[in-house]
Symmetry: C2
Subunit: 203 residues, 2 copies
């Protein structure tokens, strides 16, 4: 028996990165996949009780529920020491990247993917804006990753966070060969000890 | 002489919240206002050296530059103890709100404000999308703040973060009387010891 439960969804890269860290760090937990296509009222009662606004992922530990994937990565990495920093300056550098993700690639690319793969009704101007911002964000990552293996030298939760949705490897209408340093970095993440692919662990 | 410098901009609520915390916590610092209307190449060399992608705010401490306003709030609050938490569970709760801000109200409202106040060329579908998401986000905040004075009971950096742009009090085309609990909460923030208004400290 474990008192730790993660609620996530198959196609949520934000859920995936948290489940991946739990597995890589060997944290015993129960995983519950939520069908986000289902009307909120029909979702499992245990999920509705801990996520009143229907958000995934949500992690429940000893009865305490926490939302926001990057807050969970920070919390779990600080607790387990896995993929974290060795001092406060290092945590601040990681945290800065996590907020960049939340503002940039963690919004632009997932929204583009949503409209290109799951919802054909998006206004073209909106979809174009997500595409333009995703390209800007990937260009920035390409520059950052050109001269080092991971964002902060060694692999950290910042890498899991920025890579979350990209690791699904979908065709979202972008020519990914424009960003060779990003693609090489994704392969280095896939080679980390304990790595599991999204579709293996999120269903 | 201080070895701490904040680079920010007059109309950047993200810069404002960091400067406000520095002042409320009594951290000695130099503030440099950047004109973000100016072409990047014409901005001060000392700023270009620490912010290669032109981001504000950037905080430089003893030669180390850090971007992302919420990462700076966490770092400064952990260091000074001001508007922080008393245990790790409390820090995780604060961090969860900071990431909600980065994903939601810290994107929707500032973008809406940008197009309504400073740039009339936004595609109507895009501006409408920012308006709809800002309304969704303010509705959520209204529910959260209906039964408590601050997001986590006592005032924390989560309040400064979510309120940043709202404290400018601009007309962005929304009828703010729809969110009375949010408006009352803004007044409670303005009444905190050491509070200073954005236009007083950001120019």
């Amino acid at each position: 028996m474990t008192d730790t439960t993660l609620y996530g969804a198959l196609n949520s890269g934000h859920s995936f990165k948290v489940r991946l860290l739990l597995l890589m760090a060997g944290v015993e937990h129960r995983y519950v996949a939520i069908d986000i296509g289902q009307p909120r009222a029909e979702r499992p009662a245990e999920f509705r009780a801990v996520s009143p606004f229907g958000e995934v992922p949500v992690l429940v530990e000893a009865g305490r529920a926490t939302a926001q994937s990057n807050a969970l990565l920070l919390h779990l990495s600080r607790k387990t020491g896995v993929l974290g920093a060795s001092d406060e300056a290092g945590w601040t550098a990681i945290t800065s990247w996590l907020f960049w993700e939340a503002n940039r690639i963690g919004r632009s690319y997932p929204n583009l993917r949503w409209y290109r793969r799951f919802d054909g009704t998006g206004d073209p101007a909106l979809v174009r804006w997500f595409e333009e911002t995703a390209i800007t964000d990937l260009d920035r990552m390409e520059q950052e990753l050109a001269d080092r293996p991971f964002l902060l030298g060694n692999a950290t939760i910042a890498d899991l966070s920025l890579a979350g949705y990209l690791l699904y490897g979908d065709d979202v209408g972008l020519d990914m060969s424009r960003w060779p340093a990003v693609m090489a970095w994704l392969e280095r993440i896939r080679a980390l000890p304990g790595y599991r692919a999204p579709l293996e662990i999120m269903g």
